[in-house]
């Protein structure tokens, strides 16, 4: 991998946009001016933003332990797959929160914030980083009060009960709506389980193998006419495929 900085892997927008090359040439008006077929900048590639560095990027060790305890119940280990924890869902969430998703950097965040109608969708003033920080602390407080243990200290079935209560809104959390917090974590967990492994979850393409999704393939011309047949294709991720390794 090239262009590493701070664990981030992606070329800067300024470098990667062909149009921006012309910025200097158009000194009179600083919007990028494109005239003529843009030339090719060697290696130019607007790639996925992801972390190669080990260790938790956003979560504290304690938060990470709690999130792992949640995702391993949301996606339990069974004969179909490893658990959400072992699939890397907590690592995925950690990386997402450390990146621009964590602060909703792309989104409209101007106030006033008011709850609005259900049709007006998510109007929470909290960004994902805050949702986790507040929600995990509140969940910890609830579990301490109820069971004198952190969530991660509970038995599996006890944890399921707490999660079910969060989902139903049968629990009140301090500082954040329980159902809202639950849906946030569930949504991100599923993203982590099913997203490309380049983002830290779905280790070894475990979920794709489980459901028979062949992943990042780009050419099904040889397969489209094979109706109602199981294809058993080797899954491929953005990172690559086991079939690329040389044998012998």
């Amino acid at each position: 991998m090239t262009d590493k900085s701070k664990g981030f892997t992606r070329r800067q927008i300024l470098v990667s946009s062909a149009a921006s090359l012309a910025v200097g040439a158009a000194a009179s008006a600083k919007a990028a001016t494109v005239a003529g077929t843009p030339g090719w900048i060697p290696f130019d590639h607007n790639g996925p933003m992801h972390y190669d560095t080990p260790g938790w990027q956003f979560f504290t060790a304690e938060e990470a332990r709690e999130v792992e305890a949640i995702v391993e119940r949301l996606i339990p280990a069974d004969d179909l797959s490893v658990s959400g924890k072992d699939a890397g869902c907590a690592v995925f969430i950690d990386r997402q929160l450390a990146g621009e998703y964590g602060t909703f950097a792309r989104l409209y965040r101007e106030g006033p914030f008011t709850p609005g109608t259900p049709a007006q969708a998510d109007q929470s003033p909290l960004v994902p980083q805050e949702r986790y920080r507040i929600g995990l602390a509140a969940l910890g407080k609830y579990c301490q009060a109820q069971f004198q243990k952190p969530f991660s200290g509970l038995e599996g079935e006890q944890r399921d009960k707490v999660l079910t209560d969060l989902e139903k809104g049968a629990i009140t959390l301090e500082g954040i709506d329980a159902q809202f917090f639950f849906q946030q974590v569930l949504g991100n967990t599923m993203e982590g389980f099913f997203a490309d492994p380049i983002y830290g979850g779905n280790r070894d393409m475990v979920s794709w193998k489980m459901i028979g999704f062949p992943g990042a393939r780009y050419d099904y011309r040889d397969y489209i006419a094979l109706h109602n047949q199981k294809l058993d294709l080797v899954p491929l991720s953005i990172i690559g495929s086991s079939a690329w390794n040389k044998k012998g």
């Binding site: 991998m1 090239t2 262009d3 892997t9 040439a25 003529g36 077929t37 843009p38 030339g39 090719w40 060697p42 290696f43 130019d44 590639h45 790639g47 990042a216 393939r217 780009y218 050419d219 011309r221 040889d222 080797v234 491929l236 953005i238 990172i239 690559g240 495929s241 079939a243 690329w244 390794n245 040389k246 044998k247 012998g248």
Partner: protein, 410 residues
């Protein structure tokens, strides 16, 4: 439409000015002829910077010996060629001698231009007189010592230069001779496509057999059916030069520029003549292709998988490609070339094909340097070079590593 009207008026004035600028009754025709010849010679490639005034010079040219810069050839008396006579120009074209006993470097392809007829040079000269003079001093020689000493060129010329206008071959057709004149002369195809000796001169026994060029390969364009373009028909050669693409290949890198600036503007009959000449090669003892690698060798197996996952969606599983969009890899000269630099380079860094009026798409090969390891690239190229009728030496991951390093340094 005020601005549109003024635009039209401007164009009219410009063309009138052009017609008046040259002297003599036939000057208009002579200038038009010269303009076309200058296009054949692709003078802008070295003498016009993109977005800058025509022929004002300043284009930097990398040579194995260092940097040279294209001169200002506008009629500006101080910084251009405004003080020259036609004989001065004729000397440059035919001998590589500029006024003041200045010997030019071989990057100005006078070794080819020496073949240009005096009559054609007169037309080019007439045209150059009509270009807007631009005051733009250009230091053409940025070579390091000792190559910066122009006196060193006396010896170079003795080794590498044979002066003299093109002599038609009476045994060949007029069309063939026109093609030979263009390829050897103004078209200066050999400047890129003929391998160079240690001193940078053309190895004329290997005329057009392909050469390494600024991190690209100018492929073999002889009639060699395996390594050259022997499989291309006359029409396919014309189509390539006219549009930048045919069913075998799409021009990219320096050739894309040559097509865009020069060959797409050539007359069809000239392109046809070039094709007829290129196809009629007296050499027949082409090197025998190597045996293709066994399909079950480890690199071929891995390469096939990588090809299916990263290449087939464009180049098609059979290596046939898509005309005008994705180059055909099966039996392509570049794919079978001994020198793998261009192949490795396009996979690593990507490349944009040239666009032309007739085929403006200018599709690009994406960069895979971020996604494929050196070994992956070596394996997939080995697979491509040994499938669908191709046969060529395997690519080693060390070759990829070397090119990756050298490209990253640029």
């Amino acid at each position: 439409m005020k601005t549109t009207l003024s635009l039209c008026a401007g164009l009219l004035a410009l063309s009138l000015g052009t017609a008046n600028a040259a002297s003599g009754g036939d000057s208009y025709n002579l200038v038009q002829k010269g303009r076309y010849l200058a296009t054949l010679g692709d003078c802008t490639a070295c003498h016009t910077q993109p977005g800058k005034p025509l022929f004002a010079g300043g284009v930097s040219i990398d040579t194995p010996f260092g940097k040279l810069v294209g001169a200002n050839i506008t009629p500006d008396p101080e910084t251009g060629i405004g003080g020259w006579s036609f004989e001065d120009f004729q000397n440059v074209m035919s001998k590589g001698h500029a006024p003041g006993d200045k010997r030019l470097y071989g990057a100005m392809p006078y070794t080819a231009y020496t073949k240009v007829s005096r009559e054609d040079n007169q037309a080019i000269w007439a045209y150059l007189q009509t270009v807007q003079p631009v005051h733009n001093p250009v230091e053409t020689n940025l070579l390091p010592f000792p190559f910066n000493l122009r006196s060193s060129l006396i010896a170079w010329n003795l080794l590498n230069f044979e002066e003299g206008e093109f002599k038609p071959d009476a045994k060949k057709s007029e069309q063939w001779n026109r093609g030979a004149y263009l390829v050897q002369g103004l078209g200066h195809c050999g400047t890129c496509h003929t391998p160079k000796s240690l001193t940078g001169g053309d190895k004329n026994d290997a005329f057009l057999a392909g050469a390494d060029l600024q991190g690209w390969v100018a492929p073999n364009i002889t009639a060699d059916p395996h390594a050259g373009i022997g499989a291309w028909s006359v029409e396919e050669i014309v189509q390539y030069l006219k549009t930048g693409a045919n069913r075998f290949d799409i021009a990219s890198g320096p050739m894309a520029e040559a097509v865009e600036h020069s060959t797409q503007h050539w007359k069809d009959e000239d392109l046809m003549a070039v094709a007829v000449y290129l196809k009629d090669d007296p050499r027949t003892d082409w090197p025998k292709p190597v045996e293709p690698l066994a399909a079950d060798s480890p690199a071929m197996v891995a390469g096939k998988a990588i090809y299916a996952d990263r290449c087939s969606a464009c180049h098609v599983g059979s290596g046939e490609g898509i005309a005008h969009l994705f180059p055909k890899l099966a039996k392509a000269p570049l794919v079978n070339a001994a020198d793998t630099a261009s192949l490795i380079r396009v996979v690593l860094a990507g490349s944009r094909a040239g666009g032309t009026e007739a085929a403006p798409t200018a599709p690009a090969m994406p960069s895979f340097a971020w996604n494929l390891s050196d070994e992956n690239i070596a394996d997939v190229l080995t697979y491509v070079r040994n499938s669908w009728g191709n046969s060529a030496s395997p690519v080693s991951s060390a070759e990829v590593t070397d090119l990756r390093d050298s490209l990253n340094e640029r």
